[in-house]
């Protein structure tokens, strides 16, 4: 693998070259005294930040149904955001033709709900203050900038690199001055250890979700929950109004419909193959429900049985649309 060593401002330089063309946008993070957030840059980068230690939402959210032909876009985002981009590409929710996706090594993030966090995008959250890191980051499957077309990575000596993974990535690399050289040094962030299989039960679920108000914000902020019209918008699973009272009338039982379980378990199944475990759902939850634990845990288990990993490789088919004739014998009773 070859790549280029970079120094401060070099990526910005490359990106500016793209912008100067006039037909290209850059999506990344913008930093100012007030804080740090997603931003699309048009003519100039202003005070762009390559990294972001505060997590409010997953940038993939903005990419759903992005079919724009013509306009070129460079994404400089976290690995989890790029992974959700890759899944959206598989689901034809993004037209990747004119997009260059660059993933940047991530040192963990702190929830945007935590007050008084100093604005230091390069802060090594997991290294320096792990107790403040989000659950999702503490248990992240892929913090390394190894997904998308190119990656920005830090080696053990503290040197930043840009590494190309695709042809497009190569083009991006060519925008950066300096010689290409073989990458021999070890990178700072090692591959994540695979966590133990997530295990829970309905009692724990009931406890954790007792405050769920079914606002469905978790769904709305999920980068890979892409349906234009969710099944849970109808009365089918969650009877409301007449539908609810008809049900009560005919069944004689006055319990409220078991909406929570249905909604969350079915959604867990729906996103199981595409969930990147970013925890945007938990970030979005007004009730502070530990959603990541469940969605991340379930998706990792369910991807595991097909040795699939969401967002790893755009050429990897989503398991549910294919099969092997000789597999999963243990699933048969």
């Amino acid at each position: 693998m070859v790549g280029k060593k970079i120094t401060n401002g070099q990526i910005e330089g490359a990106l500016n070259k793209l912008l100067s063309g006039g037909d290209c946008l850059v999506m990344g993070f913008e930093k100012d005294s007030a804080g740090i957030r997603h931003r699309v840059f048009k003519d100039s980068l202003g005070n762009m930040s390559i990294t972001n230690h505060i997590f409010a939402l997953n940038g993939g959210l903005y990419l759903r149904r992005l079919f724009s032909k013509g306009a070129r876009i460079a994404l400089v985002l976290r690995p989890c955001e790029i992974r959700s981009y890759v899944e959206l590409v598989k689901l034809s929710q993004v037209e990747p033709e004119n997009i260059i996706a660059v993933s940047v090594d991530c040192f963990g993030t702190i929830s945007s709900k935590v007050d008084g966090v100093p604005v230091d995008p390069d802060a090594d959250v997991l290294g320096k203050e792990p107790d403040r890191a989000r659950f999702a980051c503490a248990n992240c499957r892929e913090r390394r900038g190894v997904v998308g077309d190119a990656g920005v990575r830090l080696d053990v000596s503290g040197q930043y690199w840009v590494l190309p993974y695709t042809e497009k990535g190569g083009k991006f690399l060519s925008l950066i001055e300096g010689p290409e050289e073989d990458v021999t040094v070890k990178m700072a962030i090692p591959p994540s250890k695979s966590a133990a299989a997530f295990q829970t039960d309905m009692a724990e679920f009931a406890k954790d979700f007792s405050n769920c108000i079914m606002c469905m914000n978790c769904r709305d902020m999920c980068p890979v929950c892409y349906c234009v019209d969710c099944v849970f918008n109808g009365d089918e699973y969650l009877p409301k109004g007449d539908a609810l009272f008809n049900k009560i009338f005919r069944s004689g039982s006055t319990d409220m419909p078991s909406g929570k379980e249905l909604f969350h378990l079915i959604r867990m199944y729906h996103v199981s193959q595409t969930c990147v475990g970013c925890g945007a759902c938990e970030e979005a939850c007004p009730q502070g429900i530990p959603l990541t634990k469940y969605f991340k845990g379930i998706s990792e288990r369910l991807q595991g049985i097909f040795s699939y990993m969401s967002g790893r490789d755009p050429n990897e088919q989503i398991p549910m649309v294919t099969f092997l004739e000789d597999e999963l014998k243990n699933a048969e009773d």
Binding site: A197, F198, Q199, T200, D201, M202, F205, V231, Y237, S258, E261, L262, L265, I266, M268, Y269, S272, Q273, G297, I298, R301, L302, G304, I305, F306, P319, M320, F323, L324, E325, E327, L328, A331, E332, D333
Partner: protein, 135 residues
């Protein structure tokens, strides 16, 4: 009712109309016996079974749910049951994570296998009944 359910499990089965449902018909015409708690919903192919149905059934009070289709390779729709196997395998994994894996089973029963059908559902019924009343 509550009492009754406590004793006798309610089992909902999704049966492919080309094999398992036919087998169940044959089981009937051969007067084979199986518990009344086992009730079938006919689907054109096991691949029609949306895992959401299974989850819905479980949370509406089913003690067990099974999905039954043609043996791999015998699907009337050629490959449907291979997809079924993937879906159900994944769903089983999810249920297992919630400690409910014995609530769901996947059977292959061909149109000719009335006896197998009866054996499978009876076995499932009894296992679940034991657990229910074991507590």
């Amino acid at each position: 009712m509550e009492q009754k359910i406590e004793k006798n499990p309610e089992i909902v089965g999704f049966a492919c109309s080309f094999c398992t449902f036919k087998a169940s018909e044959m089981a009937g015409s051969l007067r084979m016996k199986y518990p009344e708690g086992v009730k079938l919903i006919q689907v054109p192919c096991s691949s029609r079974v949306d895992p959401a149905f299974v989850i819905k059934a479980i949370f509406e009070g089913a003690d067990g749910v099974f999905v039954a289709g043609c043996h791999p390779g015998d699907c009337h729709f050629i490959k449907g049951n291979y997809f079924t196997r993937r879906k159900i395998a994944a769903l089983k994994e999810e249920l297992e994570a919630f400690g409910m894996k014995d609530k769901l089973r996947l059977f292959w029963v061909s149109a000719a296998e009335a006896r197998r059908f009866v054996e499978k559902v009876t076995e499932m019924y009894n296992d679940i009944k034991e657990k229910k009343n074991g507590r």
